[in-house]
Structures are given as C-alpha cells and as structure tokens.
C-alpha cells in the first residue's frame, strides 16, 4: 500500500568522508543514534563511487529509495520509503540542493556550509515539516530562509541583491576595524 501522502524519511548533508554536516530524520525507522549513523555510513559507501554531479542519482537498498546529488565536497541525500514516487523525492532533493546554492551564493562547499550552518538548518526546516513536504521551489525556500522581512512571495533577485550589498558593507566594516 502506498502512503496517503508523499513522505520523506530523512534528509542528509554529508561531507566527502561521510561525516555529518547537517542531518534531519523524520521517521522512526532509525530509533537510535547508532542506527542513524549506520544508515548514513551505508548510504555514503554505496553511493560514494557514483557520479552524481550533473544529474541526481538514485539507489535502492534495505527497502528505501535514496536520491542523491554531489557538489564539491558535499553529498546531498533524500530518503523515502520503497513505494514512494521517485520523482517527488528527486524534486525535494533538487529544491534543497538549489536552495543551498542560492543561500551560499554558489560557494557550495563544506566550509561555507558550516560557516552558514544556521541558514542550512533553517533551509531544512522550510523544506520538510515532520516528513511532509512543505516547499520544493528553491527560490522560495532560500527566500524564506534568508529574508528578514518576509512575505513569502517576494522576488528572489531583489533579495539577493540587497543581501549581497549588506554583506559587502559588513565585510568593508570589518576590514576597516582590523
């Protein structure tokens, strides 16, 4: 039987050694920390050698479907049950992946991700709520994550420009203070 609505079991963001950058579990399938780490290890080793840099890849094991995509030293994963529509999971993955790209202004690597971990965590919070898909459109996710005065619909290009200016100003200020 299919789930009444599409659901995501976890979202993982790991580094190139399989260590956690940010992870979020929504299902009780892995009740302990050890079970979670074992799952991450297995996902990482089974996908490590594949080339998931241009198109999202997919794998199936232990009764789960995992879609994944890599960039630099970051590995993005979205897991669903084995009856789940793969395309829906892939849409969630793409939303997460692109939103992180927007938030980090295309400097997507582990170091930048950790430096902006707060934004990454907020981003996860805006994509899935308790396993239910909240939003899949990268620009909306990134907008909700970064904008301070938010009305959900404001255009992304405006935001990024104003943010870019703000950051530039901050950098300038810091260099002057040094």
């Amino acid at each position: 039987m299919q789930e009444p609505y599409p659901s995501v079991k976890n979202i993982l963001l790991l580094d190139s050694e399989g260590k956690r950058v940010a992870v979020k579990y929504y299902a009780d399938d892995w009740p302990t920390q050890a079970a979670k780490l074992a799952f991450e290890k297995s996902v990482f080793t089974k996908t490590q050698k594949t080339n998931a840099r241009t198109e999202a890849e997919i794998a199936m094991f232990d009764g789960y479907i995992v879609v994944y995509k890599f960039i630099q030293d970051l590995h993005f994963f979205v897991t669903g049950g084995d009856n789940e529509n793969e395309l829906i999971l892939a849409t969630v993955l793409q939303g997460f992946f692109d939103a992180v790209g927007l938030i980090l202004r295309n400097n997507v690597d582990k170091r930048t991700a950790l430096e902006n971990l707060d934004l990454i965590l907020l981003c996860l919070d805006e994509i899935i709520d308790g396993g239910i898909i909240l939003e899949t459109e990268a620009s909306v996710i990134a907008g909700k994550t970064t904008s301070d005065s938010l009305d959900g619909m404001s255009s992304l290009s405006e935001q990024t420009i104003s943010q870019a200016l703000a950051t530039a100003r901050e950098h300038l200020a810091r260099s002057l203070l040094k």
Partner: protein
C-alpha cells in the same frame, strides 16, 4: 540588515578550518548564559544557538537538566525583536521538544507571534506551537488555526494545514471540525496550499469511502494545479477505483479516463504516479496497460537516472503479471544492462529475464555474465531467482542456464547468495529431468570446496535422494566419502546417511558401501558412529538380512508426505491419550504456492520484483474454530475450506461473507458478519438458508450469533448433511435475521427493547471445485505414468473467443480448483499452444491428474483437450462434467 554569520574570529586559517573546531558541550552551555543578559546581543545569541544545534546534529545529547536550562534561557530571547534570532529560537524549541509543564512558559509568546502582523512569525509560531502542544491547549488556539488555514498568505495557510495533518494523529476530533476551512483552502491558487489541503481533507475523510469518492470525482474535473496535488489525487483516485471494483462486476472502471489523461501531464512526477496507478489495477487489461507502458518506455531512454529508474522499476513489476505487455520495451531495456547505475541495470536484467523469449536467452546470459562480477550480493540473488524462473519457463535452455549457475557458484559470494544458487539448482534438477545429471555433478563439485556447513548437508541429503536413481550412481560415492574424511562432524554425519541411502537402493554398490560405513565406526564423533552403526545393522552388512525390509527402508529414508507446518500444528493439538497419534490424519493441503515459488526469499526483499508471499491459508484457524463447536465435532476430518465469498455489496449496513467448509458427509457454512452501524447492536443473528435448489442437502443444525456489536465481526454457522463422499452441488439463498437494538452513541449502552429485522443476502453456490484440494506433485510425468491409463478420460472442448491464451488457462484452472504443476500455469509470450499440468485430491481422497492442451487461432478462438487420470472412473467423468458445465 546583515544576516547573522557564524564566524569564529580565530586566526586558525589552516586547511582543517571549521567554525566548530574543538567545540565542547560544556563550554557552549556556559556560553548560553548570554541569553540572560539584560542587553541582548542578537548576533552573539544566534551564534550560540547555532552551536547548540550543531552539537545536537552531531549526535550529542543533553541531559534532562541541561535541556531544561537551555530551554528556559532560550525563552528569554523572545524579548529580542531581531527576526533572524527569532527563527533560531523557533528551531531550538522544536529540537529540545520541551515537556508539557515547560510548554506553558512559551505558549503565550508563541500565541502572540501567531497573531503577529509578520507572516513569517505567524507561520513559524503555528508550526512550533502545534508541534509541542497537547490537546487542552489546542482547544484554546483552535480559532486561530482555523483562521490561518484560510489566510491569504500561502505560507501561513500551509503551516496550519501541515500542522493539522500532524495533529490529526493525536487529536482527530478537533481537526475534524476544520473541514469547512480545509475545503475552502483546496480552492486556493497557491500550489502547495492546495496540496496540503487535499492531503488533510483526505486524511480527515479516509474512513468514509463515499465522501472520498465524491471528493475525488469533483476534483478530477480539473481544478487541481500543482503537480504534487495531482499526485495525491491520483493516489486517491486509484483507491476509489480499488474500492468500487470490489463490488461491481461490470469490469468498467470509473475515473480511469482521468488517470489516462494524467499520462499526458507535463510534470514527470504526475506521469509516473499515473502510470504506476494504472499498472496496479487489479485485473488490468492490456488495453488499459498500453498507454501507460508507452510513456514509461519513453522514460527508459531519459538522461535522468531517476526517471529511468522509476520507469524500469514499474515495468519490472508489470512484467511479473503481464510479461507480454512489456516485451515492446525489450530493446530499450537491453541498453540499460550497461547503465552506470547498478540498481537500474539489475532491474532491467530481471525484467528481461521475465519477458525474454527462448531465442534471446543465450544472448542475455552472455550480457549478464559480464555484469555479475561488479554488483553486490543482494542484486545477484535477485538475478539468480529470475534465472531460475526463466529456466522453468524454457526447460530446453537448461544447459546454458545451468552452466551460468555453476559458473557463478564457483565465484566468491556470501551465504545467502550461495544458498540462492543451490536452491535454484535443486529446483531445476527436480523439475527438469534432463538437467539432473549435470546439476548433480555441479553440486558434487561445489561441496568439494564449500565453507558453509548448512549448504553441504543440504546438498548431501539431496544427493542421497537423487543420486541412486541416476544411470551411474557409483560416480558420486567418491565425492560423498571425501566429506567423511575432510569435513566437520555435522557434514560427516550427513555424508554417512547419504552413503547408506545409496547402499539401500543400489544393490550392486552395497558391499562397497559397507566397507566405507565400517570405517566410519571409528569416527571421533558419536553421532557419526551411531549413524554408521544403525545403517550397517538395518541394512544387514553381516548378511543376516537378504532383501532389505520395506518397512526398514520406509523408516530410514521414507519421505514425510505431509507438510511440516501441518504436522507441527497437529502435534500441538494432540493430547496424550490411549489413542496413538495418527499421521494419516494430518491435513495434506499445501498452504502456500508450489515449491518453486516458496523458495523465493521470504525476508523483506530488496523489492526487485519478488512477488509478495501469498497469503497463508487460514485453514488452521478454521480447523481450530470448527473443532471447538460441539455440534460439528461428529463430522470428522475437515476436507477443505473455501476462500470467503462476499454476500453483500461493500458499504452496506451489514457486511457478510461466507466460508464453505467441506466434510466428507457434511458441509458447514460459516457466515462472517460485520455490523457497520455504530448506533446499532444486533442480537440473535442467524442466517436462514433456503436449500430448495440444492436437493441433495438437508439442514442439520445452525448456530446463531448471540450479539453483534458495531465493528467487531462475529460468526454464525449453518450445517448441512449431504451424500457421503460425493461432490453434490447446489444453490442456496440466504436471509440474515436478527434483533436490532438502538445504541446511545454517548454512553455506548443499548436499549432494552429490540426490533426484529431481516436483511436479504446474495445467493451462495456449492460447486464441484469446492471438493477439490490443491495438492501439488513434484514430478508430474512420473505421477502421470504411475497412475496408468485405466481410468483415463479424454475429450475436446471449444472455449470460444478469449482475450488471450493465458486468460483461458487461468480460467480453466480456477474452474477445476486444482494445483498447477511445474510452473505450467505460466503461458510463454506469443505462444499459440500451451500444455498445462494440474494435480489435486478430490473428495474421498482420490488423486486426480489433469493434462490440458490449449490451442489458439487467429481470431482468438481457443480450443482445449482435456485428459484426466484418476484412481476412480467416476471421478474422471466428474472432472469432465465440471468443465462441460463451467
């Protein structure tokens, strides 16, 4: 304003730089004191929260005291007006998931945010509050939530709707009151609001089939915009179709036009969802399948791995039931064998193995050999299973397939994988006589170098059964005796038994076997010595027994002809008494599918098209139930119980189905009744059966059901006497009679006085197939020949125009109610003729074998030749009558 960046302004700018380098829980908890500063530094506070979240994310845990401290400190931060910080506060509260008494502290702050002018605050506060709240608080905020559902800001509406879906699990009665608002939200122009609203509304109404059906019908007319919402609608539509096809026999599926239209949607996810829904229709026809298969075929050559995977996975499932429908995709499928993605390649191979025809087998095997070395064991097992079924389908190809199996057997692999190969070879040897010699030889080779004791003993046992019957049994002795010299005690003991079997069956080998067995008398293990002694004495090595006594042979090597599960059940129910346990009284009905299918992996498969295990027959439960009723105890041994037959339409007030229990001289109808009206309690429920159309039956007793409360099924029985041992047939009309009492829904108490009422049920038929047990034979040819042509009856029948040959074969199998043997129920693709072998036991314990030859001509006219052999002339005729009347 600048966003808060997490920066540790240290100067360690080396390679290993991480903002969280050397972070420690204790120190961060200390840092959290800044939350209490009268002058809040929003930036600093955000950084500290990020560090706390980082620790939690890395798997660090806070003690109860630490969590409480952090929680209270975090609540102070609601004073700050900084939006970035507020977001982090929300996240932190969700992560800590405070206890009920702590929740109260933040409730008022969150409720304030819920009514804030800032949409972002409102949306987030709703999600946080609903996550941590309990039922009592929920009633306070319900009003706001209802407003939020219809809020003009989609983010707020979605937050409320998603929270509603979660809350429905814990507080259904409250969420169900929001139906009107949710219905309004479905009309929203925002894609995701529509998606969330639809999901929630369906969850609210899921137990009410009629409401779901109405909802689906109205929405399929086209107001759903977002692809995600479309996917939901497709799921609900196929649910409605599933439910409705259960009670209408017309064969038309409502709403299937909608699903077909979805195949032309522009979003891939909708197409896949729709195609999958169509292929999963029960009893899907090839006309329905074709459009779905066509779109999936296009996806097979997509550049996106996810799309290729979705397509091949779906086609793989279809191939299990409709191999013919998938053959068009074979060329695309073959190119996927070399797909970079191993999951896709494995699915493609197993699909091809299911759909391939005889001529493509060799080519396919070549392609697979290259592929096998670089996939994981779990995939290999799937491939091995597929090859076994292929070999059973094309016995002529056994040489190349057996070759393949023996090659991979020699390669490295884990236990499960090797076991799958051994199981496959054993099954092939059993079912394809020509493959026997090569197969046995492969097994001998295998045990020469086998690290798994379990597999060695299994192979040795099998060799003992099959080896002596080959043309040159002596050549196996060397391999077996090697085991006695080289292996551990368990394997040695098994080898001794195998040697003894050879000795007992092959007279010429006997003296040599005795020599070998005598050597085993000095083994270091007592089990090995004991076995050797037992066999030497019973087989008469000292010349005391000339011809081996048949009883001895039976005792030593006789196969148990009852399924072990049944034997176990009978032994459990046996109570020590004067009467010895009677082995012949153990039921022989085979519980699940034939042997070949039973070997499919039973643990949770990696879902590569391994068919779900058939439902285990509830015959044990029936037997227990019936034997507990004194009125039926004199009827003797239960011969067969039918599958339940529905006597009511779905969604009626009372749901009744019936199970027919056949005894030699009696038949018992078990009516399973369910009362679906919460406001009613039924008493003295009984079924009045009119058997005027069933002359040979006479009602002997009936057992009413005392009470039938809402939604807890109960049974009432009616028993008939019938001519002993004969397959009497007839038609029975049924009337449900009962006393109905009103129940107060508030208190659950029933009124004193009841009213008598009745309810017409559908008719029930007892047909000849009810008297047939599905019992399989391992080797049909042997069984057929040993039965002899004395009571053979042959006749020919025209079956008229049929959808396909496969459909005709299935229909005849169902009419006869017999067990297909050796996988002959599967009709190869494009076959113009087919032979199907059936076996069964007819009432009176008469073995029956049937050989069906089918032929189909151009305009789909199907003709059939039916040859029956049985132990009784009258039964052979009866089988023909069944078909003639069916």
């Amino acid at each position: 304003m600048a966003q808060p960046l997490v920066k540790k302004d240290d100067d360690q700018e080396d390679e290993e730089y991480s903002p969280f380098l050397g972070i420690e829980k204790g120190a961060v908890l200390q840092e959290a004191r800044v939350f209490n500063d009268p002058q809040l530094d929003a930036r600093r506070c955000s950084q500290v929260i990020t560090k706390l979240l980082y620790l939690l994310n890395q798997g660090e845990t806070f003690t109860k005291v630490e969590a409480t401290e952090v929680f209270f400190a975090v609540t102070k931060l609601f004073q700050s007006k900084d939006t970035g910080l507020r977001r982090m506060v929300y996240l932190m509260i969700k992560e800590i998931s405070p206890s009920a008494d702590e929740v109260i502290i933040v409730t008022s702050s969150l409720m304030k945010d819920m009514n804030s002018k800032t949409d972002m605050y409102r949306a987030n506060a709703i999600r946080v509050l609903c996550r941590i709240t309990d039922g009592t608080l929920l009633t306070q905020i319900e009003r706001y939530l209802k407003q939020a559902i219809v809020d003009k800001n989609p983010v707020v509406a979605s937050a409320a709707l998603v929270s509603g879906i979660h809350l429905l699990q814990t507080n259904p009665e409250i969420v169900k009151r929001w139906t009107n608002e949710v219905q309004e939200a479905i009309q929203s122009r925002a894609a995701l609001v529509q998606f969330h609203a639809l999901a929630l509304l369906h969850q609210i109404r899921q137990s009410d089939r009629l409401a779901v059906s109405k909802l689906v019908t109205s929405l399929t007319k086209g107001s759903v915009r977002s692809p995600l919402a479309q996917c939901l609608l497709i799921r609900y539509t196929s649910q409605v179709i599933r439910d409705s096809s259960m009670n209408s026999q017309t064969g038309e599926r409502p709403l299937s036009d909608y699903l077909e239209a979805c195949l032309r949607h522009k979003a891939d996810m909708v197409i896949v969802e729709a195609a999958r829904a169509i292929t999963e229709f029960s009893g899907v026809t090839s006309r329905e399948l074709t459009p779905a298969i066509t779109v999936l075929q296009l996806f097979l050559s997509s550049s996106k791995p996810v799309l290729r995977f979705a397509a091949v996975r779906t086609l793989n499932k279809v191939a299990m039931t409709h191999p013919l429908a998938v053959t068009n995709c074979n060329i695309d499928m073959e190119s996927l064998i070399s797909d970079q993605n191993r999951s896709i390649a494995t699915l493609a191979i197993t699909t091809l193995l299911k759909t391939g025809n005889e001529s493509s087998v060799d080519r396919l095997m070549k392609q697979i050999s290259n592929f096998m070395s670089d996939i994981a064991d779990e995939f290999k097992i799937v491939v091995v299973d597929a090859i076994r079924s292929l070999c059973l389908k094309f016995p002529l190809k056994h040489r190349s397939l057996m070759n393949f199996l023996s090659n991979i057997l020699r390669e490295e692999g884990g236990f499960e994988y090797k076991k799958a190969i051994i199981d496959s070879i054993v099954i092939l040897i059993r079912d394809i006589p020509e493959a026997k010699e090569t197969g046995l030889f492969q097994l001998c080779e295998f045990i020469e170098d086998c690290e798994f004791t379990y597999l060695s003993t299994q192979v040795l046992h099998f060799l003992g059964n099959e080896g002596p019957k080959t043309s040159d049994p002596s050549k196996y002795i060397r391999y077996i005796y090697n085991r006695v010299i080289l292996e551990n005690a368990t394997v040695r003991a098994a080898a001794v038994s195998t040697l003894a079997k050879f000795g007992s069956i092959v007279e010429s080998l006997k003296p040599r076997i005795f020599v070998l067995l005598r050597r085993c008398l000095f083994d270091s293990d007592d089990e090995v010595r004991d076995r050797a002694t037992l066999y030497l004495n019973t087989l008469g090595w000292d010349g005391s027994v000339g011809e081996i006594d048949k009883g001895v042979k039976e005792f030593l090597f006789g196969a148990l002809d009852v399924p072990l599960v049944n034997l176990e059940a009978s032994l459990r129910s046996y109570e020590p008494s004067e009467e010895p346990f009677d082995l012949s009284a153990v039921p022989k009905e085979v519980k699940s599918q034939p042997l070949t299918e039973k070997k499919a992996p039973s643990k949770k498969p990696p879902s590569f098209g391994v068919s779900a295990n058939g439902p285990t027959s509830p015959i044990d439960a029936y037997e227990k139930l019936l034997s507990s009723i004194p009125e039926f105890s004199s009827f003797g041994q239960l011969f067969k119980s039918s599958a339940p037959v529905e006597l009511t339409e779905a969604e009626t007030e009372y749901a009744v189905n019936v199970v027919k229990h056949i005894f030699s001289g009696h038949i018992v109808f078990q009516y399973n009744c369910t009362n679906t009206i919460p406001e009613q309690l039924l008493e003295n429920v009984v079924v009045i059966v009119d058997a005027s159309d069933a002359e040979e039956f006479a009602e002997v007793t009936s057992k009413p059901l005392k009470t039938l409360p809402y939604d807890s099924p109960g049974q009432t029985f009616v028993a008939f006497k019938k001519p002993d041992g004969l397959p009497s047939t007839g038609r029975f009309s049924n009337l449900l009679k009962f006393i109905v009492k009103e129940v107060d829904p508030a208190t659950g108490e029933a009124e004193e006085e009841g009213v008598e009422d009745e309810y017409q049920l559908e008719d029930l038929e007892v047909v000849a197939a009810d008297y047939m047990l599905r019992v399989s034979v391992l080797n049909f040819k042997n069984a057929w020949e040993s039965m002899g042509p004395d009571y053979e009856r042959i006749d020919e029948y025209g079956l008229g125009v049929r959808e396909s040959l496969a459909e005709a074969v299935t229909a005849v199998i169902n009419i006869l109610g017999m067990q297909p043997c050796e996988g002959t129920d599967v009709v190869p693709n494009n076959a113009r003729s087919h032979t199907c072998l059936l076996s069964g036991v007819f009432i009176g314990n008469v073995k029956v074998l049937v050989r069906l030859s089918f032929g189909i001509d151009g305009p789909k006219q199907v003709a059939m030749k039916l040859a029956v052999r049985s132990e009784d002339e009258a039964i052979s005729d009866a089988i023909h009558e069944i078909v003639a009347n069916g």
